[in-house]
Symmetry: C2
Subunit: 340 residues, 2 copies
């Protein structure tokens, strides 16, 4: 049998990006006619078919679930995996995990590899690069072929599938409101650039809480980090120059580091500066002072995603039931970094 050709092979052979190949095969207007013709001819010549194993998959269950996550440094994603494992194992499924490492190309490569007969369905959270590019063809190919997909946390409206998200806006809203009600008027927000859905939503919640209480927010106290990756220099510089009496952070690593910088400049926590961070992982629990956190319920999110996916995998009816988006509620866990 001839080796199956993938987007990755075509991209390598023609020395273009995977994204270009993906768009060219969808006849996208973003790609020049010349390039499109070349790519389409090549794909035809080598008999490229998107995930051409998928049809046989329907009959041959693997009892494996593929999970693709952007990284494993952040505690949140590791707890999601624990939740997926728990639910999947209880139903007799194995779990295979791949990392996109926040890269569009790696996301596509991993998806192609797993869609190639190894798994019955996908649970995934989009890489930051995918959210930046807004190119979701690889997801559409998978769902078009009838492979069930559940997106969690970092999702997109552009793909029809089941989704599990947390009400990020609400989490930021409640944290902000708590601090404002305690008299804080100069809250600093360390969030992430708007191309990441979690960044946009959390910033919205922060602003909405100010508006609802009729208190102006300080634009100059909002720092948007380029990615979720720690860059101590940026946070240190921001906090050194800023005038703030509280900090809300988009993840616990930023928050714990923020506490450290605040303490170094002689500020007392929580009296002078209160700190709240998203995540609620080990760092929040064992920080000193322990960190008040917005729990994202990663394990529950994983369990929910796995339950939705398995339901769809095992659905034998001809009529597909409509896609659902489940929205989990965040919880504010009060610890010693805020006045309680």
């Amino acid at each position: 049998m001839k080796r199956k050709i993938t987007l990755k092979h075509i991209a390598k052979e023609l020395e273009v990006s995977i994204s270009t190949v993906s768009k060219a095969l969808k006849n996208s207007e973003e790609i020049s006619r010349d390039t499109k013709e070349k790519i389409q001819a090549f794909a035809k010549l080598y008999n490229y078919r998107p995930n051409n194993i998928a049809v046989s998959l329907k009959n041959k269950r693997t009892k494996n679930i593929g999970v693709i996550i952007p990284d494993i440094v952040h505690h949140f994603f590791t707890t999601v995996i624990s939740g997926v494992e728990k639910e999947a194992n209880s139903k007799g499924y194995n779990v295979i995990v791949c990392l996109s490492d926040e890269s569009f190309d790696k996301e596509v490569i991993n998806m192609e590899m797993l869609a190639n007969g190894s798994i019955d369905g996908f649970i995934m959270s989009l890489s930051s690069e995918t959210q930046q590019k807004k190119d979701y063809n690889h997801l559409k190919e998978v769902t078009d072929q009838g492979i069930p997909l559940v997106l969690f946390d970092r999702v997109t409206q552009s793909v029809d599938c089941d989704k599990v998200i947390i009400d990020d806006q609400l989490g930021a809203y409640e944290a902000t409101k708590k601090l404002l009600n305690q008299g804080k008027r100069k809250i600093a927000l360390i969030t992430v650039d708007d191309y990441l859905s979690v960044g946009t939503e959390r910033t919205k919640g922060f602003i909405r809480a100010h508006k609802d209480l009729g208190i102006p927010y300080l634009e100059k106290n909002i720092l948007k980090m380029p990615t979720m990756e720690m860059e101590e220099g940026i946070i240190r510089e921001f906090l050194t120059k800023a005038d703030y009496d509280a900090i809300i952070c988009v993840n616990e690593i930023f928050a714990v580091f923020g506490m450290k910088v605040a303490k170094e400049t002689g500020k007392k926590i929580p009296q002078d500066v209160s700190v709240i961070g998203f995540t609620d992982g080990l760092l929040s629990k064992y920080a000193n002072p322990s960190l008040t956190a917005i729990a994202q319920h990663g394990e529950l999110m994983g369990e929910t995603a796995a339950r939705m996916l398995i339901k769809r995998i095992e659905d034998e009816s001809d009529d597909e039931f409509p896609f659902q988006t489940k929205i989990l509620q965040p919880t504010l866990i009060e610890r010693d970094s805020t006045i309680n």
Copy 2:
């Protein structure tokens, strides 16, 4: 084609454990004659062959590497995965991760599933249950079939394959010696039960440092936790009763919690109590005071394991080169939880 039968299927069908099936097929004397005959007859009937896809694998490279780790809550294993990804991606390989969740059965199931044509070779660290049972038949089957295997961190002498370990004994030795040289005479050691190789080695290093300096160690100051899992009650009770002037912990989670308990009882760190923990992850870096740590170089371990595995996968010669065990050196990273 008839569905391939695995150890998991046989165990389920005959209502025995996977371990029993594995031993019965190896004709182990631990299993009763009756059970063995039943299992062997069943396996024959359904034409069971260990990893019977492996032969064809030799010709059909997948360019995938399978990694099986005991858990992802501990930062160490996530850094190993980062290292594997880095090296594997640079050589054009994808990485598939499965969790054994410290369970022997899950380790076997994941291994069977991946050996079934999905990967070119394995990188793995043994589950605690596997180390307790000392049953390594599933590993031997894989290597017997010519699928390359690299063990890291938690390894066994019972399987011939490439290995990467860190000199755990040396790490504990140097940490202990540092504290003894600073006049600490009542060091508490929070380690893990001896069935885990890392527990044995670190305890040995602790004792050897005392012997070399001619200082008696306090047997009653050694706490062996049942697993690497956090159980706050056990550590809190131990530290509340113990008389200690320093703590060395087998992982950073125990160490950060140990600092917390010591502080709660009015002890100053590092003056009254110095604390050192293995791992050197995010918790060590962002703890307050920051934690002096024995760096296990997880990323380097992952890179090294991937390099060894790929070398063996791509080896075309008929003569197999001898198996290697690479021993990495731990590094003591001095921070604020010890007097420097």
